[in-house]
Symmetry: none
Subunit: 416 residues, 2 copies
């Protein structure tokens, strides 16, 4: 049986966009790991009727209801009185809770106010759960075989309650299935082409393994989800399915799970003991930023030049004036010279270069905005690619970077 | 009358915590700006009964329903068929949509697949809204005086549809209260210090003007919100309040509203007809990326060098070996030489340099992780600053960039 959870985040500040609700995402991830299926997430403001409606609907759909927020000591915080109303019980002082909140303030050299004392008053049907890092207590209810937990909205307080109490308690009380996810990360192919290629493979997946396409800018992730009882068996079964689809799409796969393409490139360079240099024109330093965002990148990254005018392509990268005159800065010949020369200047094993029209201005009929050339020079030769991207500057910069890193990745794989 | 909105985000990947739902937060903020009150946000998986239930509940609560996600061409994407089911209408080919999706692929030199063609089939009761940056069309419905809009889950596609169509359309169709926001952007001071300085000013704000502190990494935004009926009057009233607080905090203010610090720097350079060159060590190309992300930056940005090893600080930036030997790469002397030389190499008016220990490794007792030096060289002299940042690599890179751009900004303002 699938155990279903619903997450309810309470607070006007979330609905008005003043605070990002990172809690619901974090809780989703943690529940996913223990095999609880989140079926609904709701964000509701500090309003009685909407909060009660959220409680009612959640109870109809879920076995577990996790609530964050609305637990402060002020009048606009409604979670506690509404839980009491919903479960039809009074709110009374819990001595243990008062002791904890008193200690919390004493340790900080502060006096307890009347509002703080009220935080120790709880609905009589709940079990008090100690919040070790704040003053708003956790509350656990079990009613009609549904487990409810109310937690503060402050992320580190919520996380501590989840880790210390909620997750272990859920594992203890529920017979949870084992869920295993594996993500295949692809680049250089759109969602619908992938789906076309994988059609019959997908149709033949066993019932307990599901496939989802997760497209984002410049890449598509394929997520395989297996549900069962035996973790190791599912790992094997998913591996077998991936093995079956590899011949169809291996050239598009750059990595698995959470690994980004710049991490993959970094790992490959490090393992082969090779170094990289960049000459970035239209990508303007973004590839360098992606590479250097990774801890330890100084082991394989020698440096970059961003020559944002032709004069500096000539002066700093020895691109020939005649090349620029003949074919222009956005051309195969120019990126080849940039890649070769930056590799030489930085004494690197791989030289990667970009030149293009990022936009929104600067396009011509022959070279419209979004025209980009990429080159990678290494001992195995020089690989080039022309991209035809969008009208949006930020998208063009991003997609140039992803495409260039993928070309680099293939060159590293082809090298010694 | 208050106009109420509900946001529905669709996708298993959100509930499983694999993707953060940034869309709902972004939409919340945009609706707040135009005076629409978000009363509920729901996240639901790719499951028929839950999606239909979310539609039903939303229609009971809201005047406006904004839906993101579930619009891909594959079988697990249910939004379109379920909207057709909900509004009890067939799905038919929309020639205009087919033309747009065909153009989208032709422009990229690719063939339309059968799945792509299906994306142009829409519920007959909807109005087709062109998605200029993707293939999943926008769909607008008006049923029982509720406005519905279905948008793709890819953030930049959703944002473009919102800005180009949804927000103007909502303003046109609904009698919205007049809300005026003005954001003051500050850098170099923490939230609680700002709040201390502004305490009595804040207490004297008129009832209809509210102040919010919006802290983020490296900066704090102050948002003034006025609610009323007369827009011009509110603009004047807010301007008067800002005029009153300027003497208190003017040295921390770098801009207003949506202008980022790299945009401010770009505008200043352009207006003064000056140019910039960068020598980025620990910031690794990130400042270059921030500068070149702005359209038209080639007018004032000459280029950057990212010398990720000492050897290239010497070879490419003529930093003296003796300086590196004496004071190390992370030192005032080194960043001064880097700034001076990169300015000379790129024939620029301003040379900006960074060198530091981004972490997580590489720290020493004298120079722990997070130690960063920044220099800016220009005709008025050389300005340097030492920063002591965090243990987190990405935070250190980000804060180095913001601090360096602020130093540059002050130098530009001080120059001729």
């Amino acid at each position: 049986m699938i155990i279903k959870a619903e997450i309810i985040a309470i607070g006007d500040e979330l609905l008005y966009g003043q605070i990002v609700d990172t809690n619901s995402h974090w809780i989703s991830q943690e529940l996913d790991k223990i095999g609880v299926k989140v079926v609904f997430r709701t964000t509701v403001g500090d309003q009685r009727e909407y909060i009660l409606e959220a409680f009612t609907r959640a109870e109809q759909r879920a076995d577990i209801i996790l609530i964050t927020g609305g637990l402060g000591p002020t009048n606009d915080d409604l979670t506690k009185p509404l839980l009491a109303e919903y479960f039809n019980c009074p709110v009374e002082l819990v001595p243990e809770a008062l002791e904890d909140v008193t200690k919390f303030f004493t340790r900080r050299g502060r006096e307890l106010t009347e509002l703080n004392r009220l935080q120790a008053h709880l609905p009589t049907r709940c079990k008090y759960i100690r919040n070790k890092v704040g003053t708003a207590p956790g509350m656990w209810f079990e009613e009609n075989s549904v487990a409810w937990m109310s937690m503060p909205g402050v992320p580190h307080e919520m996380e501590k309650l989840m880790v210390d109490f909620v997750l272990p308690e859920l594992k203890r009380r529920f017979d949870l299935p084992v869920i295993y996810h594996k993500v295949i990360r692809t680049v250089g192919i759109g969602e619908s082409w992938l789906a076309d290629i994988l059609k019959s493979w997908e149709e033949n997946l066993p019932e307990h393994i599901k496939l989802a396409y997760l497209p984002s800018l410049g890449e598509v992730k394929l997520r395989l989800t297996a549900v069962g009882k035996d973790y190791d068996l599912m790992v094997d079964q998913v591996a077998e399915q991936i093995h079956n689809c590899l011949p169809l799409i291996s050239s598009y796969i750059y990595g698995y799970d959470n690994e980004t393409i710049s991490e993959v490139v970094g790992r490959l360079l490090k393992n082969k003991n090779k170094t990289l240099a960049l000459a970035e024109s239209c990508s303007g330093g973004y590839i360098s930023h992606l590479i250097t965002s990774i801890a330890g990148s100084s082991a394989y990254f020698n440096g970059a030049i961003v020559p944002y005018h032709n004069a500096f392509k000539i002066a700093m990268l020895a691109v020939k004036e005649s090349t620029l005159g003949r074919t222009g800065a956005v051309s195969e010949d120019t990126v080849i010279e940039m890649a070769k020369n930056v590799r030489k200047e930085f004494k690197a094993d791989f030289g990667l270069s970009t030149s293009g029209i990022a936009g929104p201005a600067g396009g011509t009929i022959e070279k419209p905005v979004g025209t980009v050339w990429v080159a990678c020079d290494y001992e195995g030769g020089t690989v080039t690619k022309k991209l035809q991207l969008s009208n949006e500057r930020d998208i063009n910069i991003y997609q140039t970077a992803i495409a260039a890193l993928n070309i680099l990745r293939n060159c590293i794989l082809n090298g010694n």
